[in-house]
Amino acid sequence: MKNVYLDYSATTPVKEQVVNEMIPYFTEYFGNPSSLYTPGLEAKEGLITARNRVAELINSRPEEIYFTSCGTESDNWVLEAVAEALENKGNHIITSKIEHHAILHTCQHLEKFGFEVTYLDVDSEGFVRPEELESAIKDTTILVSIMMVNNEIGTIQPIKELAKIAHNQGILFHTDAVQAIGNMPVDVKDLDVDFMSMSAHKIYGPKGVGALYKRRGIQIPSFIHGGAQEKKKRAGTENTAGIVGFGKASELARMNLHSHMNHSSKIRNMMWERIEKEIPDIILNGPKDFSKRHPGNLNIAISYIEGESVLLMLDFNGICVSTGSACSSETLGTSHVLNAIGVPVTKANGAIRITVGDNTTEEDVDYVVDNLKQVVAKLRELSPVNGEKGW
């Protein structure tokens, strides 16, 4: 049976070159990077190389990169730390309705402690309207956090413009770029953001490693307290092998950026062309202008049927997609993102997300669309709802 993985936005396989660079750090260069003897210094050297490589990917200085355990931790850190540091200045944070749960749930946590959060609406394609950000800013606003690329519908926000609006009022700006790095050019100097979250496992690196870019000169407290690692900003013995893997993945992402983007968007476009033509009663969620969309992302609401059954039947044929409806297998309820862009619940229940990546081939497109057509037809036959009945 063919195996066609189409969920690169959920996670990516680790590239062989990346694994190969990691392995010696388990067994050979296993020292604690804080140790002063040779095996410790060897491990530390691995961290230095990795930091340089991540920095190069986003055009920052190496010392502006702080390694964390995941994108989620980076998001938590920024929000909690800015809240702690600027409490005396104000208690208001601005974000959007379509952020990742790592942002939204941390905001909800802060709300319990007296912070006020404005969740900006987005338009029908998921774009934050700059003028809405502008008018949401108050005297008490201490941070704006808007994601660079949405993980469900692929919307690429006008981060440079949004950061400028915040900075014009002297407000710090954070962006969650977990879905962005490696999938579009990201230059923190040009974007002029203060903080940026990243994660290795979305760019063919290992899971359990992330980073926070913090602009030089800005002081924020630690989130995880303890030893002096990461310039005393993130305690805990460093995940050396993981960080080395993140570094290598970043280097590859930088070198392959344009071929990766071209390849992904080409395959994605082929797939969408066939799907649009051959499967009736579907809607594309997210930007119609593909230049403003994650290069590998499709999010399709399929009328009359439910997403998980599509996912399962495709899985039976070796095809991996995710539903557009829930946060994870442990959570229920429909997608807050589809909800925010105005997709009715009934349609959101039938949404699937397809994200292509480096291993997706043109042949896969045919296999996937042929299968999807069959699955959709079969499930629609099973379904008590249809167009005539008004749904």
Binding site: N299, L312, S325
Partner: protein, 159 residues
């Protein structure tokens, strides 16, 4: 490891009794697409109150479809009286188990059958102890909106 066991997968991939009986003796719908699952059951019942045929149409996740398939299999050939006693536990048992978060799918099937029998009882002037006080429209929305397990859960792209 799989999300569902082989029996569930078999009923999902090759569901029995799919469709809609024309001029059914009883028809029940339960759930709604808003909640993420919806089932329609149609029945043929003979003069001895035996269910001679049952068909379903289901909007929902894998376990909702498998539960419908299994439930219709179970009630075919049963007396209406017996069918009213069919519990969701029995459906789960016959399926060889469902994940905890999916148990509500079997409840859905139980309710859809009850609703179909209720319709049969109404249109055929029958009374059953098992239907006493039963309100076919009552409960689903509570299940759906009230509880955390209110919809068929999907596999997330919240990642």
């Amino acid at each position: 490891m799989a999300l569902y066991n082989n029996t569930v997968m078999e009923h999902f991939m090759n569901p029995r009794n799919v469709g809609e009986i024309e001029n059914p003796d009883g028809k029940g719908i339960y759930g709604s697409p808003v909640c993420g699952d919806m089932m329609q059951i149609t029945l043929s019942v003979d003069e001895n109150e035996i269910i001679t045929d049952a068909k379903f149409k289901t909007f929902g996740c894998g376990s909702a479809i498998a539960s419908s398939s299994m439930a219709t299999e179970l009630i075919k050939g049963m007396s209406v009286e017996k069918a009213l006693e069919l519990s969701n536990d029995k459906i789960v048992e016959e399926l060889g188990g469902l994940p905890a978060v999916k148990i509500h799918c079997s409840v859905l099937a139980e309710h859809a059958i009850k609703n179909a029998i209720y319709d049969y009882a109404q249109t055929h002037g029958r009374k059953y102890a098992g239907l006493e006080g039963y309100n076919p429209d009552a409960e689903h929305h509570d299940d759906c909106e009230g509880s955390e397990e209110g919809g068929c859960q999907g596999c997330g792209n919240g990642k």
